[in-house]
């Protein structure tokens, strides 16, 4: 008994020393369940909104939700799957991967092997002597590299899409070279432009920095395994560059663990995985967004997270008016979402296959919160 008390004291002291929040339980192995009761009307409203396939499945119309998980106070309060998915199946993240890549940069900073002001050529000497050496790690996680990237998808001409060319075309075998051979169109850090190339560059920098001391599986050793993302897959190109702008796969429950890491200030069970202050910086509009984002980009970003924050200098109100202002989200193509609401201790994970316009964050969050209250 005395040994147990000593162990608990040491454990608490360690958590305090790391300035980490404490929780009664951590879902490293399993999420506890505390399913919402007496919320039939709220659940019906949520499901009427989120599970709305219209017409034939082959027509790809409506919100085609494949998994929806809501966490409140560290437990699952709602969970539903559709279209052949269940809690064991991994789902493609698309651009949710960008928030994961920026967190991996945070892991590398915490490990002392990367600084935000480092230039990319300090880690990628193959590009030494090019103008792209002026790009910093921070530029890569804030969409601030100023590379002349054309972020287009399948609804535009394939020939002008930097992304499609990188993943499936002439750039696919050496994607890092594809990214860094784009010309600078401004001074790095002086032009915000949403870019899958920036995020993939960030993941390449994190892998290069971390693998020296922790091997090629450093992402799992230092992030995915400690938080119990047991089935995370992070795809690479043939040269080993992680495809950190789009190609991460995990179960919705595991994506929720990533959200829970952020909800707990980058700590997990007393261990600090992200540097102190990293989550706050990740969820504050970046300087490059505030100074240079185009007028039509209504949602501010931090370290590759999307934020429900106003940007007064650009006369932009908070983009999701019906949910708390501290809400932030990782957002991906076809409606992938990890939404974190710190003031309500809530995480919403939604995976889907929306080819007909991605599901709205404001409405999804509003209806999900109603189930939790």
């Amino acid at each position: 008994m005395r040994a147990l008390l000593v162990a608990l004291t040491v454990s608490s002291s360690f958590a305090l020393a790391q300035n980490c929040p404490t929780r009664a339980t951590w879902p490293t192995t399993e999420w506890p369940q505390n399913l919402a009761t007496g919320k039939d009307a709220q659940i019906k409203a949520l499901e009427d909104f989120a599970f709305t396939i219209i017409g034939k499945d082959s027509e790809r119309l409506g919100y085609r939700t494949e998994g929806l998980v809501i966490i409140k106070n560290g437990a699952i309060v709602y969970e539903r799957y559709a279209r052949g998915f269940d809690e064991t199946k991994r789902h493609l993240s698309w651009s949710v991967a960008k928030s994961i890549s920026s967190a991996l940069v945070g892991v590398a900073v915490k490990q002392g092997v990367l600084n935000l002001d480092d230039g990319v050529c300090q880690l990628l000497p193959d590009f030494e002597g090019t103008p792209q050496c002026a790009i910093t790690v921070k530029d890569a996680i804030t969409f601030g590299t100023a590379l002349g990237w054309q972020e287009e998808y399948e609804d535009q001409s394939y020939q002008v899409s930097s992304v499609i060319s990188m993943l499936f075309g002439s750039g696919h075998k050496d994607q890092l070279r594809h990214i860094l051979t784009h010309k600078l169109v401004a001074e790095p850090g002086k032009r915000w432009s949403y870019s899958t190339g920036d995020a993939e560059l960030a993941s390449a920098l994190a892998k290069t920095a971390l693998s020296k001391g922790h091997g090629k599986d450093a992402f799992w050793k230092l992030l995915f395994d400690p938080i119990g993302m047991q089935r995370a897959t992070f795809e690479e190109d043939a040269r080993g560059t992680p495809l950190g702008g789009s190609m991460v796969f995990a179960t919705p429950r595991d994506f929720a663990k990533f959200g829970y890491l952020f909800l707990n200030d980058g700590c997990w069970n007393g261990e600090r995985i992200l540097p102190e202050g990293w989550v706050a910086a990740s969820t504050t509009p970046s300087d490059v967004f505030v100074a240079t984002a185009p007028e039509d980009e209504k949602t501010p970003s931090g370290y590759s997270w999307w934020l429900n924050r106003p940007v007064p200098s650009q006369n932009k109100p908070a983009p999701w008016p019906d949910v708390p202002e501290d809400t932030y989200a990782a957002l991906g193509h076809w409606g992938q979402r990890i939404i974190v609401v710190p003031s309500e201790d809530v995480i919403v994970v939604r995976v889907g296959d929306d080819r007909d316009g991605s599901i709205g964050v404001n409405e999804l969050t509003r209806l999900s919160l109603a189930v939790t209250r």
Partner: protein, 102 residues
């Protein structure tokens, strides 16, 4: 209407054009991209997401719908081809690294 949409698309692209104001174009053609897309995404769908073949065939369908996709479950490979000249293969590596487009 299609012309109007094309003009709108061009106007949008112009906003991310290079310093000369011309959108960069890449050395790809639609068939190369179609087979690359269906091989890579088909492999990830079948061997990472572990969905069934019917789901994966529907999931990778893109325009132009010209790719013929074959799933080699035993060897965890997906091949895609279009007409005579265009082909791509993706293979499953492992649980951590998923699929690679060769």
């Amino acid at each position: 209407m299609k012309n109007v949409l094309s003009l709108v698309a061009f106007a949008l692209l112009a906003s991310c054009a290079d310093e000369n104001g011309t959108p960069r174009t890449y050395d790809n053609n639609d068939l190369e991209l179609a087979v690359g897309n269906s091989a890579r995404m088909g492999c990830s769908c079948m061997f990472v997401m572990e969905m069934d073949e019917a789901y994966c065939r529907a999931w990778v369908k893109a325009s132009p719908d010209v790719a013929k996709v074959s799933f080699d479950v035993a060897n965890k490979r997906v091949q895609s081809s279009a007409f005579i000249s265009w082909a791509a293969t993706a293979r499953f590596v492992d649980e951590k690294k998923g699929c690679i487009l060769e």
